[in-house]
Symmetry: C2
Subunit: 314 residues, 2 copies
């Protein structure tokens, strides 16, 4: 048995977890509500389960933590818990998506709660572990650092646009899991938390700051700048824009769950980490009072990049 | 700074917690939904905040764990987040109740999530710590053990009945925190998690099994019997029934949040632990196939005690 892990699970008052001596515990929680974070008529239940867990795992990735256990609280209208004829119930399909991702990231579901609710809600809590003092924080970026992102940006927002159009044409929602990485819906429905990439950065001490892109590059880079007390420049031409996504979606679209991180200019960052591309997109500069924290360098010259205000379906 | 505690809180991707070497981590989560676990027209917002946290703390108490941090996810209709004139908003009053209890139990609120929701939901997650291998489990009760409860039983169910009657007479809900321990609503609105009593039992190794009474004595004693593979006898005459509560409420009413525990017959258990009464109510017996796990010894003779099926407002 590993010394990190789940010692006691569902069936007592609490789950009991152990971490290795010298590790600290990372905890994150994310609430998803039908109509706001997902739509029962747009998102296949498997994707809702996948996305619920992916949100939490992505927060661990951004800290460079490895997952120890997940806890899930579900509030559901009664009809979502019932089979209809020979078809699986919504909740069964939700768990299919949830548990497939959990298995890939060796994350046991250690507890949770289930209650009847007039609106579907899912609250995910992830517990992870990271060597003491080694977590990737938002607050360590320094002037002169280079900025990097994993993967491609804007794919989730573009996929959501697609879903909106499909559902306007067709009342039946997209069915089951797409297995095609080129599918324009994949980044939105099946985002892949960058756990391995976060661990790689943490173990080698290569990043000075990191965050996951849940609210969009413009907003999340703003968080790093704020917490680190710095500014940033982004080279528009260098942005890795996902297939069919627009420049605006890449800058402001949320839920890509890629990692954004800073590293000293002398630090070697490879072109790929564990199979995922890494792109240098800009640099950390001094914060200047009275000026935008984040500047976008375009062909037409520098422009202030304000937060895009990703708001799900609001 | 204590070596157990909160190292990094709200403002990064995860909270970071540390426990002492040799401690393991206890985690529990409880979902509360308006109309099911509380009613906006019956429960003062401070009591909803208090009860939300008390549910989680009580699970830690039942494990003999001390609290390290709380995480709260709130989904609320927009109007509950707004002040009306000079009156505090619902959410402000919720936090007043929540934070007062958190402070008494030295439990920092380390993170969480807030989202708009058509129905009010609160998911509480508690992280605690307990020396490795010392947690009070449901599974350790042995034949011959004596059974004990803290405090008095049935008060929460009796209080809920009161609320139901008051609200039938009066459309305005009960206002603000009652400060009177004799108030019949106190056990329901302001249950006190038995953290100190759980710690006392754990540190001295006096209990073989423990659980908190959230679903009612008949149901929760059934959990101990099931997990320990034993049966139990309760002496009806010995039950510590709360002031105005009925025998039925004491046996089956939920949400008292007292501790039920088993101890070897040779173990000394005091009459009070940290100011709270402790009452011996029965004993652990051999499980007999084909017979009820839990038996109530009454003047009229033994009766099978089946689970009361506490169902909140269902």
């Amino acid at each position: 048995m590993r010394s990190t892990g789940l010692r006691l699970s569902i069936g007592d008052d609490c789950a009991l977890l152990q971490v290795k001596p010298g590790e600290e515990i990372a905890v994150t929680t994310d609430l998803s509500i039908a109509g706001r974070h997902f739509r029962l008529d747009w998102h296949p239940p498997e994707a809702v389960g996948h996305r619920t867990l992916a949100r939490g795992l992505s927060d661990l990735a951004a800290m460079g933590a490895h997952p120890v256990a997940a806890f899930l609280s579900l509030g559901l209208p009664r009809e979502l818990t019932k089979q209809r004829g020979r078809r699986l119930s919504w909740i069964d399909r939700f768990f299919e998506g949830f548990l497939a991702l959990a298995e890939r990231h060796k994350t046991p579901l250690a507890g949770g709660d289930l209650a009847e609710s007039p609106v579907a809600v899912a609250d995910i809590l992830l517990v992870g572990a990271v060597p003491r003092g080694k977590a990737l924080l938002r607050s360590g970026a320094q002037e002169g650092d280079l900025l990097y992102v994993t993967g491609a940006l804007g794919g989730s927002a573009a996929g959501l646009d697609c879903l909106r159009k499909v559902s306007a044409r067709n009342s039946k929602h997209v069915d089951r899991r797409s297995t095609n990485d080129e599918d324009p819906l994949t980044p939105h429905l099946w985002p892949e938390p960058r756990i391995q990439q976060g661990l790689w950065l943490q173990r080698r001490g290569r990043a000075t700051a990191a965050i996951d892109l849940s609210d969009g590059l413009s907003t999340d880079l703003g968080h790093i700048c704020m917490e680190s007390g710095v500014g940033a420049e982004i080279d528009e031409a260098s942005l890795p824009v996902f297939g069919n996504a627009s420049r605006k979606q890449a800058l402001h679209g949320g839920e890509d769950y890629e990692l954004l991180f800073a590293a000293r200019p002398v630090t070697r960052i490879p072109k790929r980490i564990d199979g995922i591309s890494v792109t240098q997109i800009g640099r950390v500069i001094k914060a200047r009072s009275g000026q935008a924290r984040v500047v976008l360098l375009t062909k037409a010259g520098p422009q202030p990049l304000s937060r895009g205000g990703w708001e799900h379906f609001a």
